[in-house]
Symmetry: C2
Subunit: 336 residues, 2 copies
């Protein structure tokens, strides 16, 4: 295949957008022209690509008929404003914001539900799920073949980079203030984030669930094709810059075959299984890597039908930018 | 009651021992003579009590017949060596190390199973459970009256002070090194603890469970009088100095009545219920307090028989030292 494509990246100056551009280069994605776009505040910056600095332009003025594929790596509002324009211009859309309904732009994780690509109409619209749903789907998909997952109970300890660069800067600032015994005045977060865990990422609805938690449940059910899967999830903000950690309990109807679980995880794409006795960490293992790390694979104590896992993954890379690029690699086979 | 008692605190120079002495003073525990004891390395230090500095002496040379009650706040080895001597000298024992079998020294949390005191023979031996089991028992006990807890799935994010002063110093040191962009050489922990989560506290057995996780399960079952309760637990080391956080999912056979849950938690002793929409944190709420904070009380998404909770508590104070002092307050009523 010698064809190459004209591509747009919207939100190119954000943590995910910048990593996405970097991965397009690393994986030698067949690009003829790359258009980097952002809101008016960020336009004018430039982002390195193939040894040059590519200038970021305003998305408002962009003519989507110039490209065959657009990645939307900004917020939901930007996707809702501009994705329809892209589609109208016959440009495929890969959205990372969660803004598009899945009937219009199905959630897709190549390691889990590549099959969902079949029968999509051009111009294709796809959603790359939240980092948590993406990483969990990579690990739970190969287990679905082994046993029926009846329930998932999940504590997701998310890196502050989930909330963008300001949150990263704020964790560093708070930490320095505290270490220097200066009074803490929280800015980005509404309370002390350094040396602390915050039990809520975003505002909960009247039932106590945050948008992020509901998005995770919706996306994971869709990607695993288990629309009624029971998932109890708590998304926690951890004082970690990059890399998410997931403590997961799966419930089966029957005793878990741990050997088969280990073999399936070992064989599955996108996973690095850490040997028993050891465990992966966000910072030490996952950051900068293309796989989800899995460790602490074990049954419950006196609960052989429960499987416990500890996962870590790079929330910006594996959880977001890389998955979107993997989707693009599938699209260029015959859907662009 | 005007009686006062002669008391020994073993491990008086540790984080828990020191807090225990402070709480004995705060609560005006009726003490005639206070003997502070420690291993030979720590002997010679002094600890403040009632405006004086009390010198810490070597436990090896102590004559337990001088006291009516001894708190063991050092490690399991110290308890195993010296608790039998205390008992032989007719001295009551409250052990915080988890070393004594529960048939000999039952685990007790006053808010949950005060009834276990009935029928104990003198000299009484009691165990004050691990911080995690203590805090969880305080919260789960009042819920047992509302519904049958069938399963518990728990991620316990533990403060580094769980592992003593050295761990606290090491987190501060690592953090400072990283903020100053100096290379990190982990000492106390075997890898980067700052800005990271470690998925294992201690070494796992051949089934993947750590001693702390097994202790927690055993103690919680005992205190809740549910010997077969299914508990999946992951104890995580968080980059937090003081204060544990617990993400808990409880499973009931029938739909949870959230109003009744909130009312029960509101009415129960030892609990501070945080209003819906807000949530407690370890650092901002729990540290230095005598209650377990509970927030994010909610059912699962489309899973009305699941109850999710977020708890925070001071691991040194509420989880350990205060519980031991509360036990002593019960003992002096008629068991000393």
């Amino acid at each position: 295949m010698n064809q190459s494509f004209d591509i747009a990246v919207i939100g190119a100056t954000g943590t995910v957008g910048e990593t996405l551009v970097q991965i397009l280069e690393e994986r030698d994605f067949p690009i003829a022209n790359l258009h980097l776009l952002a809101s008016s505040e960020s336009a004018g910056h430039s982002v390195p690509f193939r040894g040059k600095n590519v200038r970021v332009r305003e998305v408002d003025e962009f003519d989507f008929s110039k490209v065959q594929l657009a990645f939307f790596a900004a917020g939901p509002a930007v996707t809702l404003s501009f994705a329809p324009r892209a589609t109208a211009a016959n440009c495929a859309v890969i959205d990372l914001s969660g803004a598009l309904p899945s009937a219009q732009a199905p959630n897709l994780v190549p390691e889990a539900n590549e099959r969902a690509l079949a029968g999509l109409k051009k111009p294709v619209q796809l959603s790359s799920p939240s980092a948590a749903a993406t990483s969990l789907a990579v690990v739970l998909a190969p287990l679905q073949a082994l046993f029926e997952i009846q329930r998932v109970s999940l504590t997701a300890s998310l890196a502050v980079s989930t909330q963008g660069r300001e949150a990263v800067t704020e964790l560093a600032r708070q930490t320095a203030e505290l270490l220097n015994a200066r009074p803490l005045e929280p800015r980005f977060f509404d309370r002390q984030m350094a040396f602390n865990l915050l039990a809520q990422v975003g505002t909960p609805d009247e039932h106590g669930h945050t948008l992020l938690e509901k998005r995770l449940v919706r996306e994971l059910r869709e990607v695993l094709a288990q629309p009624l899967l029971k998932i109890s999830v708590t998304c926690v903000q951890a004082p970690v810059f990059f890399g998410d950690s997931y403590s997961v309990t799966l419930q089966s109807a029957t005793a878990i075959d741990l050997e088969a679980v280990n073999a399936a995880l070992e064989a599955a794409p996108g996973i690095e299984l850490v040997e028993a006795g050891d465990y992966p960490t966000a910072v030490g293992d996952a950051v900068g890597q293309d796989v989800v790390y899995v460790g602490r694979v074990r049954a419950g104590i006196d609960a052989p039908a429960e499987l416990n896992l500890w996962l870590t993954s790079d929330n910006v890379r594996k959880g977001a930018a890389l998955n979107a690029v993997q989707l693009a690699e599938l699209l260029i086979k015959d859907l662009l």
